[in-house]
């Protein structure tokens, strides 16, 4: 990590670490991203491979795939989003608790891909805000891991992470010690 968020010198602080609340919150969030696997097509197979022992997404604290939107932080849209399914994708996104992120995995989720037709939504960013786009058709698990690491980097550098705007309303998290 280039930027040091933690000032710690055992000779000076002893058993005390001095840091910013934002940095701690972001560090916690970035290392325990619980994905919501929105597997809609063949990208979901690569997503499953990323969960297996060869690629092992748990190295990044992301192995806790939650099929309930209430327990997930990051929706990985893996596959072709048809107009019929788009409604469901948006509804599941709405049900996820803040803070939440969206990864568009593969060509279809990012742009509609090769499905340029009457039935396919031309990119999931038309209905939900996307944080990371991953290219590939489908992307290999390494590409997914790279995208998720980019997402971690993005989470670590979020400013004002205790204060987020949600549907035009500012939500503030208070730390009680």
């Amino acid at each position: 990590m280039v930027k040091s968020d933690f000032g710690y010198n055992s000779k000076v602080e002893g058993e005390v670490i001095v840091t910013r609340a934002d940095a701690v919150v972001n560090w916690v969030r970035s290392n325990s991203v619980w994905p919501m696997p929105m597997g809609l097509a063949c990208c979901a197979i690569e997503l499953m491979a990323a969960g297996g022992s060869r690629f092992d997404i748990s190295r990044f604290g992301m192995e806790v795939m939650r099929f309930s939107p209430r327990q997930a932080d990051c929706m990985i849209v893996a596959g072709t989003v048809t107009y019929k399914m788009a409604e469901v994708v948006r509804r599941i996104y709405d049900q996820m608790a803040e803070p939440k992120w969206v990864v568009a995995m593969g060509a279809c989720a990012s742009t509609g891909g090769m499905y340029r037709s009457y039935a396919t939504l031309q990119g999931v960013d038309n209905i939900v805000p996307v944080d990371i786009y991953i290219s590939g058709c489908p992307p290999r698990p390494e590409a997914l891991l790279d995208g998720m690491m980019l997402l971690q980097e993005k989470i670590r550098n979020e400013g004002g992470s205790l204060r987020r705007t949600f549907r035009g309303r500012t939500v503030e998290t208070k730390i009680v010690s």
């Binding site: 019929k84 948006r90 340029r116 037709s117 009457y118 939504l121």
Partner: protein, 195 residues
């Protein structure tokens, strides 16, 4: 299979001399009786396929093709039915497997299957106004409202046409290199030949 029994009992049935399997054109009014006779008397107990088709330049625009398989005699038979006034009797009562096939044929072509137990769309959403595999429907699609009104309100999204031209698979300034893959210009159709 016993072809003579079929054609003598149903005089409207016409042998189309299929090259790969026995093929018959069956009148819509005879369809249920023919399928039922083939199933119960000649052993064609499995509905292998049922699909809709649009035939341009024919008096009846739509038709249905049914493939039946006999699991005892190991042979197929193909039945053509013209959809007069876009209507064909449903064979779901004889072969329950036809249920979803008929819903798909209805969804894509608008062929109404009379007597179908659940005549809804199967691929497109229920409020979709068109039948996309009809020849007069553009591949790119036609603009219609988003399926869910509440999602459309939040996102401002509509179901928009996505023509191949202008898409990511068609290069804009002509061919950049010989090695570059690019999709065909699909602005031409069977009626409007390529300029």
């Amino acid at each position: 299979m016993d072809a003579a029994a079929l054609t003598s009992r149903f005089p409207a049935t016409q042998d189309l001399a299929g090259k790969d399997m026995p093929t018959y054109r069956v009148a819509g009014s005879d369809l249920l009786a023919v399928v039922s006779a083939l199933r119960d008397e000649q052993g064609f107990d499995l509905l292998a396929d049922l699909c809709g088709l649009e035939l341009q330049g024919r008096p009846v625009r739509f038709g249905v093709v049914i493939h039946l398989l006999s699991t005892t005699h190991k042979e197929y038979v193909r039945l053509h039915v013209d959809a007069v006034n876009d209507r064909v009797p449903s064979v779901s009562s004889l072969h329950p497997g036809a249920n979803w096939h008929e819903r798909e044929a209805f969804d894509m072509f608008g062929i109404v299957f009379e007597g179908h137990p659940d005549p809804r769309r199967i691929l497109m959403w229920d409020s979709y106004p068109y039948h996309p595999l009809r020849k007069d429907f553009p591949l790119a699609g036609i603009e219609v409202p988003f399926p869910a009104a509440d999602v459309a309100e939040v996102t401002g999204q509509k179901v928009e046409p996505a023509p191949m031209m202008g898409g990511p698979f068609v290069s804009h300034g002509g061919k950049l290199s010989e090695g570059e893959p690019s999709a065909l210009d699909q602005s031409w159709t069977e009626e409007k030949p390529k300029a």
